[in-house]
Amino acid sequence: MNLIGNLCSSLCSNLEGDAKNREAQRTIDAAIRFPLLSIFKASIVWMLIATVFGLIASIKLHTPGFIEECQYMTYGKVEPIFWNTLIYGWLFNAGLGCAVFLLARIGGTPLKQGVFLTITTVIWNLAVVIGVVGIILGDQLPYKWLEFPSYTAPILFISFLGIGLWCAMAFRARVQRTTYASQWWILTALFSFAWIYSAAQIMLVCSPAQGAFQTLVSAWYAENVFGLLIAPLAFATIYYLIPKTLGIAVVGYRYTGIAFWSWILFASVAGTAKMVNGPIPVWVASVGVIATFGLLLPTTTFSIQFLGSLLSRFSKIWDTASARFLIAGVLSFIVTMLFKSFGALRGSQEVVQFSIFESGVNQLALFGFAGMVFTGASYFILPRLLNKEFPSPTLVDLQFWAHGMGLVLLCIGSISGGIQQGELINGSTADMLAVVNTMRSSYFLASTGLSFILVGAIAYNVTFFWMLLSARSKKEASTSLIEEAPELEYTAS
């Protein structure tokens, strides 16, 4: 609790010693500026790439003639490229960027060995590039979210170990000994990913389990990528950004422990729910269904904490770009978890299994929850890191609304379209061609949504690179722009 006090006191401008605080923060930021900027650069470019591939895949569903002649861009290749660049390109880098910033700031000391972090993340991103090229050339593996060819796995894993090691050392180097929830989540994400990635690679590629059980491992892995890597990094960011942007402690912070442990417990099993009616023992899927439903427990705690905090300072949300992204992310999270939990029940799966419902929910979780939270965080971090103002607040607004509107369209297209598709495929003997015909409007809606998100991604890229490349104005060069007071928070309008 000590630390929350510190977080809050740093927000209050009338407290003594604030200038000294700011000076200390600038030293901390300066130590990680170079690696952090390179991580954000990668994430923002990957976001654009992922969205472009997503849009191509989506267009191919309603207009199959689109880029038809090219054997390197079949739907079966573009679709996994979309998901993998989205996860390992954009969200991993964005989440890592937030994690590094949080570790440095909460730890309260300038971190060393930034070069090591830069090198490992560059290797990680090169491995992702190799993976994408590998899929284009036809070396993909048929496992969900593990489609990167097997030769990229060692590079990804070793560079990840480097990243994880750096973060663990950064955590150890903290001056402030009391830990905060954000740090628990970051440690969890890093450790869990090393564990699930190595387990999945060993059981799928090195010494593969027997046929049907590979599906089990693959389903377990894919759900854990969300539950134990992306979501924890996003939670870490939310726990930090709420006090920072709103100037209050997280409501009901003392229940964080329960939410933390129950989330890890349930999320690590939830993946097997996808195996309902599949060729594996029935009880395995049942355990997964129960666990997915159990996720409602931590979800409720998070909802009370996050929404309680955000709604108690509602007026700030519309003034502060970061807080606005944050609340959009939190709302997406709640909706995602409701769809995930109720969608995993056997009764629902009888309708939606194998339809685009699941990919719709995943898009909501990744573009909506994690994407919104990390983007909001980057709008908080970048001005502090560069000591520059947003070149154009309109662009930030544009991204928010384009991303948000796109998300709504995408989700209506994929989730409600998925339910419709499921009803036709699993609930009737309708001819598949008739199903395709009925679904065309939903596919079209999803494409429209992704085009909106693409506009947002372009605005994001322009803002970032404009900010990065423009020279500092006189004001920016002479003083610290950041005064850690909520009233003076960077606003988009």
Binding site: K60, L61, P64, E68, E69, T74, G76, K77, E79, P80, G138, Q140, P142, E147, F171, R177, T179, W184, L187, T188, F191, S192, W195, I196, A199, M203, L204, A209, Q210, G211, A212, F213, Q214, T215, L216, I264, L265, T272, K274, V276, N277, G278, P279, I280, P281, V284, V287, R346, E350, Q353, F354, I425, N426, G427, S428, T429, L433, V436, N437, Y443
Partner: protein
């Protein structure tokens, strides 16, 4: 919870225990199946994929067909049997030889577990891959013209050339020849059929009674 090692340890214990429960336990208990030898049903079961079909499986994997097609039949839910996608539940033993396994989890197109039984005609598959519009009007399956070569007829027309309907025909004096990959893919499609019975996956009553009536007819 102010110590890193405590969090590491806690997370490690939870992850190992849940992994042991939902991944390792089922694999230890039921994941070491062996093929069955049944002389009446033609020897080793499952039959397995051989030769050109095995090449075709690689093509299937390369182009990511799994993004839209499953290869599993469910009995407890859905209308898989009524749709003619299979006659019985797919069980673990059916996938014994499959590494990597191509079960899939998305049905933007039909299930393919028994496509070799539904469509036995190789030329249908060829036309379907060349341009799905020819065989299934209105399908959103991507055409794969890159698996075929359009070339000038020199001398006599090749027998392997596709017999295209008039509205899809190529220019006069040209023919469309399937590449080796297309041949392999079609061989794979034709090999996709579950023709054997397993004790753990009995056929449904409807299928059994139908087979019985056919057998009785034959006996008469």
């Amino acid at each position: 919870m102010n110590r890193g090692p405590f969090i590491f340890l806690g997370v490690f214990i939870i992850l190992s225990l849940t992994w042991a429960l939902v991944i390792n336990k089922p694999i230890q208990e039921t994941g070491h199946l062996s093929p069955i030898f049944d002389a009446e049903q033609g020897g080793r079961l499952p039959i397995g994929i051989k030769g050109g079909a095995a090449q075709g499986k690689l093509v299937y994997q390369e182009f990511g067909c799994i993004a839209c097609h499953t290869q599993q039949v469910r009995v407890a839910a859905g209308f898989d049997l009524e749709r003619g996608w299979g006659e019985r539940q797919s069980v673990a033993r059916d996938y014994l030889d499959e590494t990597p396994v191509l079960i899939g989890n998305s049905r933007l197109g039909p299930d393919l577990s028994n496509v070799g039984k539904r469509q036995t005609d190789a030329s249908w598959h060829m036309l379907h891959f060349y341009n799905p519009d020819i065989t299934s009007k209105g399908s959103n399956m991507p055409a794969m013209p890159f698996l075929f070569e359009t070339r000038e007829i020199v001398g006599e027309a090749t027998s392997r050339a596709l017999k295209l309907p008039a509205e899809y025909a190529v220019a006069d004096g040209y023919e469309v020849i399937p590449s080796r990959k297309a041949e392999a893919l079609v061989a794979y499609m034709k090999s996709l059929k579950v023709t054997y019975d397993l004790k753990e996956a009995p056929k449904s009553n409807d299928v059994m009674s139908e087979e019985l009536s056919v057998a009785l007819e034959n006996a008469k």
